[in-house]
C-alpha cells in the first residue's frame, strides 16, 4: 500500500439482499480497518440495519461476500460469526435482568470458552477476575454486584459494550450505540469507544442517526441510499458530497 494505511480487516463486496421484490441492499462495497471507526449512515430504509443483520448472520445474504481477515462470514450462523471475533451491540440495550452485572460478563467468558455445560462450580466463581477487568475498562467496576434490572440506561449501554468486548472481538458492530441517551452521555460513551478502539486495535462499524456523533467520532463515513453506497470517505469529504446533501436535505428544484 502506498499510503501506509493498514490492510482492511473486513472487506464487504457486492452485498445483496432482497425482500420479495425490494432490493434492500443492492450491491454494497465497503471496508473496515483495525483501529478505525466506520459509520454506516443513510436515511430510514436505506439498508443500514439489513447490512448489519447480514454481517451478524441474522439474515442470509442473496449475494456478495464479507470477508473478515480473508474468512467468509456470509452463510455462517450468528454463533459461528461471533466465535470468529465479531461482537455486536443492539439498538435497544438489554441485559440478563435477573443476573448481576459481573455475571453478565462472566457468562460471555464461559460461552467463549465453551464451558456453559459446567454443572458443578458455581458460575459466580468462574473467570471473575477477567470479568472485573473488562468492567473496569468500561467504568462499571463499582456496579459489578448490582442486579442488571436496576441499572440506568447509560450503564446498561456500557454493560452491553463490556459484554461485546469480553471475548476480545476484532470487529465490533454497534447498532445506533447512542440511541435513547442524553447528549452528555452520548459523548462520554463514544469517547470510551474511541479509547477502546485505539487500545485494542479494534475495528468498529456503527450506524447512527445523530450526525454530531457520526461526524464527531467516525474516521470514515459510508452513506447508503436505497441499498447502494452513494458516498464513502472521510467525514469532511462526505459532508461536502453533493449527492449526500441531496439525500439528506432534498434537491433544490
Amino acid at each position: 500500500m502506498m499510503t501506509g494505511e493498514p490492510a482492511p480487516l473486513l472487506r464487504v463486496r457486492g452485498l445483496v439482499k432482497a425482500f420479495g421484490g425490494l432490493r434492500a441492499v443492492a450491491g454494497v462495497d465497503f471496508d473496515a480497518t483495525a483501529g478505525r471507526m466506520v459509520a454506516l449512515i443513510g436515511p430510514n430504509g436505506a439498508g443500514k440495519s439489513t447490512c448489519f443483520n447480514l454481517l451478524g448472520g441474522q439474515l442470509r445474504a442473496d449475494g456478495g461476500s464479507a470477508r473478515l481477515d480473508g474468512v467468509e462470514l456470509l452463510g455462517q450462523s450468528p454463533q459461528q460469526i461471533w466465535r470468529r471475533g465479531v461482537g455486536r451491540t443492539f439498538q435497544i440495550a438489554a441485559a440478563f435482568g435477573s443476573l448481576s452485572v459481573v455475571e453478565n460478563v462472566q457468562l460471555v467468558l464461559l460461552s467463549a470458552r465453551r464451558r456453559l455445560l459446567g454443572v458443578w462450580r458455581p458460575a459466580a466463581a468462574c473467570h471473575r477476575d477477567q470479568a472485573m477487568a473488562v468492567l473496569a475498562a468500561v467504568g462499571l467496576a463499582d456496579q459489578a454486584g448490582r442486579t442488571c434490572a436496576t441499572l440506568s440506561y447509560g450503564d446498561l449501554k456500557r454493560l452491553e459494550l463490556a459484554q461485546a468486548l469480553a471475548h476480545r472481538p476484532r470487529l465490533l458492530l454497534m447498532d445506533e450505540p447512542t440511541a435513547g441517551m442524553a447528549p452528555a452521555e452520548r459523548q462520554a460513551l463514544m469517547a470510551l469507544v474511541r479509547e477502546l478502539v485505539t487500545g485494542l486495535a479494534l475495528a468498529v462499524l456503527f450506524t447512527e442517526h445523530d450526525m454530531d456523533v457520526v461526524f464527531g467520532h467516525a474516521d470514515r463515513v459510508v452513506v447508503l441510499d436505497h441499498g447502494q453506497v452513494i458516498a464513502d470517505g472521510t467525514p469532511a469529504a462526505v459532508r461536502a458530497a453533493p449527492r449526500v446533501r441531496a439525500v439528506y436535505l432534498g434537491t433544490a428544484a
Binding site: G56, F90, N104, Q106, L107, L116, P122, A124
Partner: protein
C-alpha cells in the same frame, strides 16, 4: 367402496363439529393471545345444556321438530357465550399483561371448576342424547346406511365458515377483530375499546364452542372428561391450521376428522397419537401452520422482570440443615401415618423441584410433566414386574425411561416457545397416558401393575422413608447446584433475553433440550419412588392432573426462589389433606385455589415472604407485579 364413502362422510361430519369448536379457540387466541383451556369445558357445558333442553323437548313430543332442536342448540350456545363473556370480565381481563403461564393456569382452574359443577348438576353417568324427528333417519349411500343428521352437520361446517367470513370481512366489528389479531398495540392506540372487543370475541368464541357441543349431543355420549380431550384436540386443529386463521382451522378440522375416521380402522387405539403426530410434523415443517402467518408481537417481553436467584446465606443454610436433620430423625418422633405423609411429601418436593427447574429457572412452561413422572413410575414397575430387577436398578430404569421420554418429547417442545411449548408437552403426556392405558399386555391397562414393593432392606416404613429422603434430598440439592452452575446461569440468561443469549453464543435450544432431560429425570426418580411407596402404578398417574398438581405446587411456592417448590409441595399437600377431609368436590376447590393464586398472589408464598421481609426492613410495601419465568 360404499363403506369407504360412509367412513369419509362420517369423518367430514366429525370435522364440522371440530371446526366449530376450533374456530372459536382460534378466534380467541388471535385477538387475546390467550389459549383458553376452558374452551373444551364450554363445549362440554353446551352439550349438557342442550341435552337437558332436548330431553324436555322430547318429553313434550318435539314441538317444532328439527327447528325446535336447532333452537335448543342455539339457546345452549348463547348461554355458553354469556359465560365466556363473564369469564372475560372477571378473570381474563386481569391477565392480558401477565406471562403466559398465568392465563393457562387460570383457565385450567376454570376447567376444574366447570368439571365439578357439571358433576354436581348432571351426575357422573355418561348421558346419551336424542335425535330430533326428521333428522333421526338414515339414507342409503352405495348400499350403506348413513345418518341424515351427519349430512346436516357436513353442510353446517361450510355454512358457519361462510358466516364467520362475512362477519369478519364485511362488518365493522369484524374489521376491528382482524386488526386486533394482527397488531394488538396498534388497535389500542387507534382508540378501539379493547375491553369491549375482547369481551365480544370471548362471547362469540365460547358460543361457537357451546354450539359445537350442543350439536354433538345426538351423535355421541356426553362425559365429564370431554372438556379436556376436546380442548386438546381443538388446539391441535388450531396449530395445524395456523393460529388465528379460520379457514386454516376449517381445513385442519376436516383433515383431523378424516384422519380419525380412517385411523380408527387401521390403528383403533392410537387415533389421538395420530393427531399429535400430524401436529408435531406440521410444527416442525411449517411452524406457523398450514394457512397461518407469523404473528407479530406475541406476549413475550410483557410482564415483569424475573427475580434474581440468590445463593443461600448463613441463616438459610442453617435452617436448611436443621430441616434436613429434623426430617432425618422423623422415624423417632412420628408414627407410621406421619412417615407415609413425609415420604409422599419428599416425592412431591422432588417432582416440584424438577418442574421448577424447567419453569422457574429456564422459563419453559410444561403442562405435561406427568409424562416423565409416569414414565419413571411405569419404568420402575415394569423393570420389577417383567425383568424381576431389584429395587435400586428398577429405580434407575425408571429414571432412564423418563430421561428417554424427555429426550424425545423435549426435542419437539424446545422448537417452540410459550403456549405452543405448553401444549406440545401436554400432547406428550397424553400420548404416554394413552399408551399406558391401551398397551394392556405390558402395562395391564386400567388395572395397572400391582404388588411392586421395596426390597427387604428398605421394606420397613422407616427404611423406605430414609431411602426416599436421601434420594429426594440429593435430587433437590443437585438441581440447586445446577441452577447456580454455568448451565443454570445460562438458562436463566436465556430466559431473561433469548436474543441476547444467542448473540453471545449461547446455544439456547440445546440447553433447553438438556434442561427438559434434567427435569424429566428428576420427575422419573420421583415417579419410581412413588411406585414403590404405594406398591402399584395406574394410568391415572400420567393424567393432566398430575402435571397440574406440579404446576400448582410450583406456583404456590413461588417461581422466584429455589425453595419455592419445596414450600409449595408442603403447602399443597397440607391443603389437599384439609380440603379432601371436608368435601368431595376437590377439583372445584383446587380450581378456585388456582384462580385465587393467579389473581392475588402470583409470586407465591416465597414471594410473599420476601415482600414481608422487605417491608420489615424498609417500611415500604413494594411488590412489582408479575414474576417472569412463567413464559418466554
Amino acid at each position: 367402496m360404499g363403506f369407504l364413502l360412509v367412513q369419509a362422510l362420517g369423518g367430514l361430519a366429525a370435522g364440522s363439529v371440530l371446526f366449530l369448536v376450533a374456530s372459536g379457540l382460534s378466534l380467541i387466541f388471535g385477538v387475546t393471545r390467550i389459549v383458553n383451556f376452558a374452551h373444551g369445558s364450554f363445549t362440554m357445558l353446551g352439550a349438557y345444556l342442550a341435552w337437558s333442553l332436548t330431553e324436555r323437548l322430547g318429553q313434550a313430543g318435539w314441538p317444532g321438530g328439527a327447528a325446535g332442536f336447532l333452537l335448543a342448540a342455539l339457546a345452549a350456545a348463547l348461554v355458553v357465550g354469556l359465560l365466556g363473556a363473564l369469564m372475560e370480565r372477571l378473570l381474563l381481563r386481569r391477565l392480558y399483561r401477565s406471562p403466559e403461564l398465568f392465563p393457562l393456569l387460570a383457565t385450567f382452574g376454570v376447567v376444574l371448576v366447570l368439571q365439578d359443577a357439571t358433576l354436581a348438576l348432571w351426575g357422573p353417568e355418561d348421558l346419551l342424547g336424542r335425535r330430533p324427528p326428521g333428522l333421526s333417519g338414515t339414507v342409503v349411500l352405495l348400499g350403506w346406511p348413513f345418518p341424515v343428521y351427519d349430512l346436516v352437520l357436513i353442510a353446517l361446517g361450510p355454512l358457519v365458515l361462510g358466516l364467520l367470513w362475512l362477519l369478519l370481512h364485511r362488518s365493522r366489528w369484524g374489521t376491528r377483530v382482524r386488526a386486533a389479531t394482527q397488531d394488538r398495540e396498534m388497535t389500542a392506540i387507534l382508540g378501539i375499546d379493547q375491553n369491549r372487543l375482547f369481551c365480544g370475541v370471548l362471547m362469540l368464541g365460547s358460543a361457537l364452542a357451546g354450539l359445537g357441543g350442543a350439536l354433538q349431543v345426538p351423535r355421541e355420549a356426553l362425559t365429564l372428561h370431554m372438556g379436556l380431550s376436546t380442548v386438546v384436540e381443538a388446539f391441535a386443529v388450531v396449530v395445524i391450521g395456523g393460529m388465528g386463521s379460520i379457514p386454516g382451522a376449517f381445513l385442519a378440522a376436516l383433515l383431523i376428522g378424516e384422519l380419525q375416521a380412517f385411523g380408527i380402522l387401521l390403528f383403533p387405539h392410537i387415533t389421538l397419537v395420530l393427531v399429535f403426530l400430524v401436529m408435531a410434523a406440521v410444527l416442525v415443517i411449517r411452524p406457523h401452520g398450514l394457512l397461518g402467518r407469523a404473528t407479530g408481537a406475541g406476549r413475550s417481553g410483557e410482564g415483569g422482570v424475573a427475580e434474581p436467584l440468590r445463593p443461600a446465606g448463613p441463616v438459610a443454610t442453617t435452617l436448611g440443615l436443621a430441616l434436613i436433620a429434623a426430617l432425618a430423625t422423623a422415624p423417632f418422633w412420628t408414627g407410621d401415618y406421619g412417615l407415609i405423609v413425609l415420604t409422599d411429601l419428599a416425592i412431591l418436593a422432588l417432582f416440584a423441584a424438577g418442574l421448577h427447574f424447567l419453569i422457574g429457572v429456564a422459563g419453559l412452561i410444561s403442562f405435561g410433566h406427568a409424562a416423565y413422572f409416569g414414565l419413571g413410575a411405569y419404568g420402575a414397575a415394569l423393570a420389577t414386574h417383567h425383568l424381576a430387577l431389584p429395587m435400586m436398578p428398577a429405580l434407575a430404569a425408571g429414571m432412564l425411561a423418563a430421561a428417554a421420554g424427555a429426550t424425545l418429547f423435549g426435542w419437539f417442545c424446545v422448537r417452540r416457545s410459550g403456549v405452543y411449548l405448553a401444549m406440545l408437552s401436554l400432547a406428550g403426556a397424553e400420548i404416554t397416558g394413552s399408551a399406558a392405558m391401551q398397551w394392556t399386555d405390558v402395562t395391564g391397562g386400567d388395572n395397572g401393575i400391582l404388588g411392586i414393593w421395596p426390597d427387604s432392606w428398605a421394606a420397613s416404613r422407616a427404611g423406605f422413608y430414609w431411602l426416599t429422603l436421601v434420594l429426594a434430598t440429593t435430587g433437590v440439592l443437585a438441581l440447586r447446584r445446577l441452577a447456580f452452575a454455568p448451565f443454570g446461569t445460562a438458562l436463566r440468561a436465556a430466559r431473561d433475553s433469548e436474543r441476547r443469549a444467542t448473540s453471545i453464543g449461547i446455544p439456547v435450544r440445546r440447553l433447553h433440550w438438556l434442561c427438559f432431560i434434567v427435569a424429566g429425570t428428576a420427575a422419573g426418580l420421583a415417579g419410581g419412588l412413588q411406585t414403590f411407596a404405594t406398591g402399584s402404578v395406574f394410568p391415572t398417574v400420567l393424567g393432566v392432573t398430575t402435571s397440574v398438581d406440579g404446576l400448582v405446587m410450583v406456583l404456590l411456592g413461588g417461581l422466584g426462589s429455589l425453595a419455592g417448590p419445596l414450600v409449595g409441595a408442603a403447602a399443597f399437600q397440607g391443603l389437599k389433606g384439609e380440603i379432601m377431609r371436608e368435601t368431595d368436590l376437590w377439583q372445584l376447590w383446587l380450581g378456585l385455589t388456582i384462580i385465587a393464586l393467579v389473581l392475588a398472589c402470583p409470586r407465591g408464598l416465597t414471594g410473599f415472604a420476601r415482600d414481608l421481609t422487605g417491608w420489615w426492613r424498609t417500611g415500604g410495601w413494594q411488590t412489582d407485579g408479575w414474576p417472569t419465568g412463567g413464559g418466554r
